[in-house]
């Protein structure tokens, strides 16, 4: 009799324990830390250094979100995720935001239950080969083996591109990018493919980086951006506007060095940005100085790009499409007003 009662009680508990409705910003504030899904193996975007400190463009976006919420860019827990597990981690609530060089596609926007908040890096897929093979174009790779990471748009684009050009290829897929690049280095395949920014980053891991060349073809559009779960509009808006704040700051020439002087500026756009005018921060659910926190603790988009993947980093990638719209690129942020 006792056992039956306890089983019934358990059944009732199971039925009642539904998942709480989405209030991510409130949960993050109460918890005191932001759980951020990151790469863990990609230099320039998300990787811990020798001391265990995380660095990278995606990492800095997460730090910007934490800075806006907590005024402290270190209140973050980074969860390293492989391409296979990244969406399940976000769907299940293990991370609050996924900033892991993830391409924005329609199927990911719809059937996975998550929404992309913007594009922090406009990228495209490319190939890397050994210089000794004397290959100058991806179209010459007929019959080649290509190492690729599993669970990425890279896998799909590879098959499409080679089909479209009537070329045969053998793709060898690996669970993580580390294994894929090791196999490429060991000679298991002739070429390695991933987003072009990733190629430069992974080349640094090879035994002789100068023996490898990146081919000129960019075979797909890969807009990389942060994503959050669907059903929480407030959190979606917060994450979206953190990136836009960084872009607006670069347009207004506000950097981490001069943000304090900008607090006394008379330029109306700058006044709205730093919070002297209007209540834009409070409307988002943050504080008045939300944008100042971001720029002071992390930097504007240009600074973040430079120190992680641009001229101030070992990767030295040109800004290209990622320049501001006013300078010839396509990074464009709506105004704060």
């Amino acid at each position: 009799m006792k056992r039956i009662v306890s089983i019934l009680a358990l059944a009732v508990f199971v039925v009642v324990a539904q998942s709480a409705s989405a209030q991510t910003l409130k949960t993050v504030k109460e918890r005191g830390t932001l759980n951020c899904g990151a790469n863990g193996q990609l230099a320039g975007f998300g990787a811990p250094d020798a001391q265990g400190k995380w660095n990278g463009m995606d990492v800095d976006i997460c730090r910007a979100i934490a800075a806006a919420i907590f005024n402290d860019a270190t209140k973050i827990k980074f969860v390293p995720l492989s391409a296979k597990d990244r969406f399940t981690a976000l769907q299940s609530g293990e991370v609050d935001v996924l900033v892991r060089n993830t391409t924005w596609t329609s199927s990911r926007d719809s059937s996975l239950g998550l929404s992309f908040t913007g594009v922090d890096y406009y990228d495209g897929q490319g190939f890397m080969v050994r210089k000794s093979l004397k290959v100058n174009s991806a179209l010459e790779l007929n019959g080649a083996s290509v190492c690729v990471q599993q669970g990425t748009t890279t896998e799909l684009n590879l098959a499409d591109y080679f089909r479209a050009h009537n070329i045969q290829l053998k793709s060898v897929t690996f669970a993580t990018s580390d294994e894929a690049i090791k196999a490429y280095d060991a000679g298991r395949c002739d070429a390695y493919t991933t987003d072009a920014s990733g190629l430069y980053a992974e080349r640094l891991k090879l035994a002789n980086p100068d023996d490898h060349a990146v081919l000129p073809e960019i075979i797909s559009k890969e807009p990389l951006g942060p994503s959050v779960r669907q059903g929480d509009d407030q959190w979606f808006t917060v994450v979206k506007w953190v990136l836009f704040a960084m872009l607006n700051a670069e347009e207004l020439n506000i950097t981490s060095k001069n943000v304090d002087q900008m607090l006394t500026s008379t330029n109306p756009e700058v006044k709205r940005f730093v919070g002297t005018d209007g209540a834009y921060g409070e409307q988002l659910g943050l504080t008045k100085d939300w944008a100042v926190r971001i720029i002071k603790l992390v930097g504007n988009y240009g600074e973040v790009f430079d120190r992680n993947v641009g001229a101030g980093s070992p990767l030295k990638i040109d800004r290209g499409l990622n320049k501001l719209w006013s300078k010839g690129g396509i990074q464009y942020a709506p105004p704060i007003r």
Binding site: K84, N142, G151, A159, S171, T173, E179, D190, R229, Q230
Partner: protein, 397 residues
Amino acid sequence: MSLGIPAGTAPARVAFYNDPKVRSVAYQLALCVVIGFVVYSAADNAIVNLRRAHIASGFGFWNNTAGFDISQTLIEYSSQGSTYGRAFWVGLLNTLLVAALGIIFATILGFTIGIGRLSRNWLVSRACTGYVETIRNIPLLLQLLFWYNAVLKALPETRDSFTLPLHIFLNNRGLILPKPVGQGGEGLLWLLILAGIIATVIVHVWAKRRQERTGERAPVFLIGAGLVIVPALVYVLLTGFPYNFDLPQRGRFNLTGGVEVAPEFAALLLGLSLYTAAFIGEVVRAGILAVSRGQAEAAYALGLRPGVTLRLIVLPQAMRVIIPPLTSQYLNLTKNSSLAVAIGYPDLVQVFTGTVLNQTGQAVEVVAITMAVYLTISLVTSLAMNVYNSRMALVER
């Protein structure tokens, strides 16, 4: 001696809710209802939450185009024309292939190790002991990674491939064999060979019965070989060999043509077989030690040599003890093949629970299907082994 119950008394009447039989039925019904309710509400909860989170559900993804390539396939598969369902079958066949070959090699090696460990030759028994103790105590994943890297490092680059006779090449992309391309008559050839094999089995059964009746042995092996080879040979001589070979040739990057056996497959097979063989060796040793010594001594007293004693007297009795744990080892091998994910061999878990799950986002359906598949494979294997076991059982009086 008589009990104090007068004859002809009916059993005492109790209320129906105190009757033990009624009570037990009632409790079992109540438990069924509770379990059914829990399962239903858990499923309902999952569906409602998936819908609320806007995650796609249902099995519609099965017929969507896959879009990705698989490096090793036993059946036709193309990234543009094949569906996720087809990718599932490719992964499943790869798993079954590795599991079947792994079971065969592990059994052969395992029996050798187990018997070797009981050998009176000091070197052989110590070597087998060392093998078992080393391999058993290192995690399988590490062993797979070791074999994968060892296999890859030992093999040369494509341009320096080892060239073996019969146009077989060996390099770090794999073993490349000439591919037989059927010209049309090969169906009949295989049919003749199959008929020969069935005939051999029948001859074997007949010869065994004859031996039990009259004591005379028939040369089953020779007869069987004749039954299989001779009709096939006659057919080939009359109609010509029905296969043309697609020979591998050096392309710019890899060898084109031919059939390729990837190093991932070799490494997985090697790692799984060696690992499971260590466990099977111990199971076999336990089985042999379980047979009472009197059997072997009686056999020696009859003048039988140790090898013959082992094969005809000890092992058949040991099989009764060996088969149940052996079944477990086979199931372990089948499930361990899912570690192929770590070295890039496209088995069921890598293709289906890895890539398909990631592309469709439908974790619940995909994992449930994978679990059901492994459960089915395991149940079928253990069913087959249990049938074999019951035929081996001691027939009690």
